[in-house]
């Protein structure tokens, strides 16, 4: 039996200074409505109910925008073909070649900080035997894929350079029929000429971790003696870039910035005053809070305020409201992702399915299998390595399908909430966000709901702004 709540139109209302809108979950699109209709739908009993309003409501009902339909069952669609999908189409493997590191970064999950129980810090290295088994397992589960993507992760993977060389030699010799891609994430401080030659020869894609200019970077990324690592990382990056550029493969280099919201964004973004970082290299960013989720992060008011302002400028540039703005490279990168989201809102759907699940979880094990030094499997390198729920198998016993089902069907921790959530189609929560004390927890999942709804609302508002820029703000 449906509750009264469930008989209400499944919609979310939005308004801008000049216009009124409804977002229909069943059509996954936004419609411009009159103020009277908006007020009526918002439960305002004083709204004068004219023929025009009634006609508009009738039309909205007829077109399915006011449908009250919810998914009847929350169940991830990939569950139906899970075993088959895992057999043939694994797309990437991430090998944790070592757990040791030459730096002691303050926010590092290996650093055993208070409140951060993410990974075990040790001097362990992966054995060649384990690495070979992992590669064989991957190839055996990627028969339908035309590429093999092998990523090396740490600790600091360059501490295990000899192992990396052996793994590459093994993979090239045995699996040359596939297109093989190699990735490496490094702090960059240990790079040698021998390594550079090897990386060029095998066309490695390399991601350097650089958090900002020296002042910001060195706050966290320190050597054991407490000195900062920025200068070493930067000079190695420049050296590598020159060599890659001479081979025409400079596009394979990038940097990842871990942004600390305690800092002033202006200071972080001063990195781009250097034309190398601004013009030459691909940059992506993640917020330190996302890296160490369990720990409450300190966010400076200046950070939030400034980032909102930068987002506003980015929209002004993207929607061509103001010409000639200088937009931070980090924000420009998000344009494409936003465009994809706008496309889904533009084209819409014809009603929610009876069975489905919020977006979010990838197919664990298939997308980016993380294999730690001991040969244990995890859905990716971002999850807690000591969480029982996240260990989805190991190199000797293969995938643990039961665990994978749990990680994939994570929305079933909170089925009622998900069924009735207006942001259900835009939610990106995965098991990583639902893990508490090593197990999957509905309570933990719900802690992140507000953020998901807020992000979805922001996407819809930006989409509306884009539409208004094309219509009422058209120059």
């Amino acid at each position: 039996m449906q509750s009264a709540e469930n008989n209400k139109p499944f919609i979310k209302l939005f308004k801008t200074p000049r216009q009124f809108y409804l977002y229909s979950v069943n059509r996954n699109t936004v419609v411009n409505i009159s103020e009277e209709t908006y007020r009526f739908l918002d439960g305002d009993s004083d709204v004068p109910f004219s023929d025009d309003t009634e006609n508009e409501l009738d039309q909205l009902r007829m077109d399915g925008y006011l449908s009250a339909k919810r998914m009847q069952t929350i169940r991830h669609p990939f569950l139906d073909n899970l075993e088959e999908s895992l057999k043939t189409r694994m797309s990437q493997i991430v090998l944790q070649v070592t757990q040791s590191c030459n730096l002691v970064c303050e926010y590092c999950p290996f650093a055993n900080q208070e409140g951060v129980e993410y990974r075990k810090h040790s001097q362990k290295k992966m054995s060649l035997e384990t690495a070979k088994k992992a590669i064989d397992f991957y190839a055996a589960h990627a028969g339908e894929a035309d590429t093999l993507t092998v990523s090396f992760y740490g600790g600091e993977p360059l501490l295990a350079f000899d192992l990396i060389k052996d793994v590459v030699a093994y993979t090239n010799a045995r699996y040359f029929g596939k297109n093989i891609f190699y990735n490496l994430t490094t702090n960059g401080t240990l790079l040698t000429d021998e390594m550079i030659c090897f990386f060029i020869q095998n066309e490695f894609s390399i991601m350097f971790s650089i958090d900002g200019p020296a002042k910001i970077h060195d706050q966290h990324r320190k050597h054991v003696d407490g000195t900062g690592s920025f200068e070493a990382a930067k000079s190695n990056l420049f050296r590598l870039y020159d060599r890659y550029a001479s081979q025409g493969i400079k596009g394979k280099l990038s940097i990842n910035m871990v942004l600390d919201p305690k800092n002033d964004p202006d200071e972080i973004l001063m990195l781009f005053d250097d034309s190398f970082f601004n013009d030459k290299i691909i940059v992506q960013g993640s917020i330190v809070e996302e890296v160490v989720k369990d720990k409450e992060m300190e966010v400076s008011p200046r950070y939030s305020e400034k980032m909102q302002y930068l987002n506003f400028l980015a929209n002004a540039d993207r929607f061509k409201i103001i010409d000639g703005l200088h937009i931070c490279k980090l924000l420009k990168k998000s344009y494409l992702t936003s465009d994809q989201k706008y496309d889904t809102l533009k084209y819409g759907i014809n009603g929610l399915p009876d069975v489905g699940a919020p977006g979010g979880p990838c197919l664990p094990g298939q997308r980016r299998l993380f294999v730690n030094v001991d040969g244990d499997f995890f859905p990716c390198e971002k999850v807690s390595e000591i969480a029982n729920a996240m260990k989805i198998g190991d190199i000797d016993n293969g995938f643990d399908l039961h665990k994978i089902e749990g990680v994939l069907d994570v929305a079933n921790l909170t089925p009622e909430k998900c069924r009735n959530c207006w942001a259900v189609l835009h939610c990106v929560l995965c098991a990583k966000n639902c893990c508490h004390d090593g197990e999957l927890s509905g309570k933990q999942r719900l802690r992140n709901c507000r953020e998901q709804q807020s992000n979805t609302a922001q996407t819809i508002q930006d989409f509306i702004l884009q539409q208004e820029c094309k219509t009422i703000y058209k120059r």
């Binding site: 189409r89 028969g143 339908e144 029929g177 596939k178 994809q340 496309d343």
Partner: protein, 355 residues
């Protein structure tokens, strides 16, 4: 003559099946493929190349699919195996496109060893004729994919065979080196030359088809349409529709088969697509061949490339059955089911004879 074929993958199954129909003296008795492919070969009968070539008179080196054409490790492996074959005094049929220097070196090596090196790339016919639009007199059937990676080869090879069996003279054109083994025509190289003016290409392309008619006197020309018809997203364009549009300006298609992955699309939506094709390309969709793959949207968006997941044969059968019970005019079939091609050929002939 018995040949070994290398590197073999399942998309060559139809070509291998029909080689004896086109070459009475040629038989593929062994298949070999790189170790890395062993998991995606359905019958899993592939063998390693590393054995003495005593049981065969020669080796056919097939072209690899587009997705592997930039794989330098694989290219080096193939060149090394051609050298090994020639040094073993065995003939080589090389459909694989080689770098000019490698081709010249291998030709020389073949001469030194006194064996044949039949290099198909050198046989490409560009049919460059004077500029004047030519009318087409035979029936033209086109086969194209929704997106670039959707295979069309099973439809091309099997439909050609069924139409031949039905007694028609069929000339087939395909953008695939390997079908040269079946005597199929390949697209002229200028069709893919991005430095040429589009209008000139369309003109030349029109002549190309006219010349095929003059040369082979076919009753039917069956042509593959290169690249996809649609884009996946604004960042994954899949070369959408450009070649299709050029081809549609050069010739008129009488029947069109669309090859598609198995997405949850209703027959009504396909009919709308057909309507759109009519206005954009000048032909409608007569039949749709479905593969056993489905786009993984989440993965595709994350990786900015189209990623497919396998679906079960049962799912494909149910889906096609549901579409065909709608009694609409688009004929739907499973392109990996050999028994589909008899009914497809009947549908083609029925439609073209006004039945």
């Amino acid at each position: 003559m018995n040949y070994l074929l290398y590197p073999y993958s399942d998309d060559l199954a139809d070509v291998v099946r029909y080689i004896p129909d086109y070459h009475a003296d040629m038989q593929v008795s062994k298949l070999a493929s790189p170790y890395a492919w062993k998991y995606n070969i359905k019958n899993n009968e592939n063998v390693s190349f590393d054995f003495p070539l005593d049981d065969v008179e020669g080796v056919i080196f097939a072209e690899v699919s587009k997705k592997y054409q930039k794989n330098t490790l694989l290219y080096k492996d193939i060149v090394a195996k051609i050298q090994y074959t020639l040094n073993s005094k065995k003939d080589v049929i090389c459909v694989k496109q080689l770098q000019e220097q490698d081709a010249a070196d291998l030709k020389k090596l073949a001469q030194e060893n006194g064996c044949a090196f039949d290099y198909y790339e050198s046989k490409r016919n560009n049919y460059d004729m004077e500029s004047m639009f030519q009318t087409q007199e035979c029936i033209m059937i086109g086969v194209g994919g929704t997106l670039e990676e959707v295979t069309t080869l099973p439809v091309i090879v099997n439909l050609a065979a069924r139409l031949k069996e039905a007694g028609y003279r069929v000339t087939t054109v395909a953008d695939d080196m390997n079908v040269s083994l079946l005597g199929f025509e390949r697209f002229p190289s200028y069709f893919f030359d991005e430095t040429q003016d589009y209008m000139q290409i369309v003109h030349k392309f029109n002549k190309f088809y006219k010349n095929l008619q003059l040369l082979h006197q076919p009753e039917i020309i069956l042509t593959q349409i290169p690249n996809g018809f649609m884009k996946y997203s604004n960042s994954c364009l899949e070369n959408f529709g450009v070649k299709a549009f050029m081809l549609s300006q050069a010739v008129n298609l009488d029947y069109f088969v669309l090859c598609a992955s198995l997405e949850p699309t209703s027959i009504e939506e396909f009919e709308q697509l057909s309507e759109m094709f009519k206005y954009r390309f000048g032909f409608e969709i007569n039949a749709i061949g479905f593969s056993d793959q489905r786009i993984d949207d989440t993965a595709s968006k994350e990786r900015d490339m189209v990623i497919y997941n396998q679906v079960s044969c049962d799912t494909v059968a149910k889906y096609i059955n549901a579409l065909n019970t709608c009694k609409k005019r688009i004929f739907c079939f499973n392109m990996f089911d050999l028994s589909s091609f008899g009914p497809l050929a009947e549908n083609v002939l029925g439609e073209l004879s006004g039945g």
